[in-house]
Amino acid sequence: MSAHAVMTRERRDEEAPVVEVAWEGQVVGARQDVEERAKALDRLRLSDNIFKLMTRSAAIFVLALLGGVMLALFLGSLPALNEFGLDFFLSQSWNPVTEKFGALAPIYGTLVTSLIAMMIAVPFGLLIAMFLTELCPMWLRRPIGIAIELLAGIPSIIYGIWGLFVLAPFLQQHVQPGVIATFANVPGLSALFAGPPYGIGIFTAGLILAIMVLPFVTSISRDVFEAVPPVLKEAAYGLGCSTWEVMRYVVLPYTRVGVIGGVMLGLGRALGETMAVTFVIGNAHKISSSLLAPGTTISATIANEFTEAVGDLYTSSLIALGLILFFITFVVLAIARYLLLRIERRIG
């Protein structure tokens, strides 16, 4: 103890007892310490448990939420399902006048447009994320990242209006005639790209969807790519791998789960997207072999007709469509999950 400390201590003896305790605590407080620590530990244990309980409740709440939505949809769609039974899933007819409804055309349209969207958006999104994490100069990273995220911020209806006024006419005049002519004599593909060029149709809707889900795939992929420990990448570079090889053999395997998460986010968005699709898909309750022909999706049908649907059976059929969309999502996700498991096994 320094002289100064002794002095202060003597002075403190005549002064405030509060400080006294604090000082003497080193000696006296051993017993108190044990009690304090026990108390603190109890408190921690309590808050620990409360936190865990909160997280668990939140997880269960998410379950309950979907349960509620499903139940509401199920009850709403009972009249239609009772009326049409299995035919509802197999019939292409959609006739509000005679009240005969079938969901086949919107089911087909939903699946095909989402498939087109993912085929375009996933490679693009991964490549852009790759560019942003590996190649892009530092000063450019943030602006480009924000720019891509902006695509997610543009309201859905604006995509729709833009698609109708800008994209569709452009495709109709400059792209589709060429495509139709190119594939006209190729067996198989000729049916897939048969005219006439309307500009709006299944393919245009898929393209708009691809633009819309791109930021989801890109943002998430970039975030997980950046989470790869630099050591791993440096080791690979050290072995003389090219950027491409590092991506292919180090980054992608390491971040696989996260990338799939991003793809799922995008796919979820694509399956359920409403307004943008409604404007550019042509809304025909028909299944045609050509990707350039007008079609319809489940969500577009609901958005188009729900607000004007008069009559219980009509409304109920639209709600049943919503239920089917849930079911489709369910199946698509289950398949994706299964594929993921297989990949995991193959890699070991």
Binding site: V69, L127, T133, L150, V166, L265, G272, M275
Partner: protein, 265 residues
């Protein structure tokens, strides 16, 4: 690698095309009046004040309700129940919720809130948006927490840090930028949602901040005005869309700035 540069350029050119159209149509309509006057009838001057205020209230409320639930649920899945049944079920359910068409969410809230209350209300709109926020936040929170290396958790455990503190102090910090990205994506997603608001908050021609009465919102106004025959209404619709887009842009920039310079490798 040329491919990835090309992809980026194409992605950016899409953006340029859409933004170009937005600015072309909406920029000339941006004036002080937009922020100080209410939505006009066709043929008169006006702004979007009631819609902007309504949208702000609804979005803030939705994020305030949805984000804590989403983060907590995501935390459970990544930290506590990594391998239990509940987690795998919730993950699956959550992905389904993600793709629920927003109009269906609107119908659900209509049944459980609007009908029992007997009238449309701003709060019902906010809850509908919160239901859209939750799955996005759950998904990103879980993914980001899973990426936090386990060595961090072990280090925290070795110095006797309780689990809840470890999560709050270490895991959240490590996953912060990712989680914020998730919240941003969620905000971006609800900022343009029309369908769930139509049957919950309805819309309001006049200024109203009463959460118990119909409340205006930008997307609903954009939707109604864009499809109208009147040029002045269509212009306001474009301007409104531009405002939403610029707000999301500003949010992105602020969030990026907050999370600091991103780690470079």
């Amino acid at each position: 690698m040329v491919a990835s540069v090309g992809a980026t350029l194409i992605g950016l050119s899409w953006l340029a095309l859409i933004l170009g159209a937005l600015f072309w149509e909406g920029f000339s309509g941006l004036s002080l009046r937009v922020f100080t006057e209410n939505t006009p009838p066709p043929g008169s001057d006006g702004g979007l004040l009631n819609a902007i205020i309504g949208s702000l209230i609804a979005t803030v409320l939705a994020v305030a309700i949805g984000t804590p639930i989403g983060i907590l649920a995501g935390t459970y899945m990544a930290e506590y129940g990594r391998h239990d049944k509940l987690t795998s079920v919730v993950r699956f359910i959550n992905d389904i919720l993600l793709s629920a068409p927003s109009i269906v969410i609107g119908l659900f809230i209509y049944e459980v809130m609007v009908r029992p209350m007997g009238h449309f209300s701003g709060i019902a709109g906010a809850v509908a948006l919160a239901v859209i926020v939750i799955p996005v936040v759950v998904r990103t929170t879980e993914d980001m927490l899973l990426l936090v290396p386990n060595t961090m958790r072990e280090a925290a455990a070795s110095i006797g840090l309780p689990r809840s503190l470890m999560i709050q102090k270490i895991a959240y910090r490590a996953a912060r930028s990712g989680i914020i990205t998730g919240i941003l994506l969620a905000i971006a997603r609800v900022s343009g949602e029309t369908a769930p608001l139509l049957f919950t908050a309805l819309n309001n021609q006049f200024y109203s901040t009463n959460l118990n009465a119909p409340m205006a919102s930008l997307p609903a106004v954009i939707f109604q005005f864009a499809l109208s025959p009147y040029k002045d209404w269509q212009k306001l619709a474009w301007t409104g869309a531009l405002i939403i887009t610029l707000s999301v842009l500003a949010l992105s920039i602020v969030a990026r700035a907050l999370t600091g310079a991103r780690k470079s490798s």
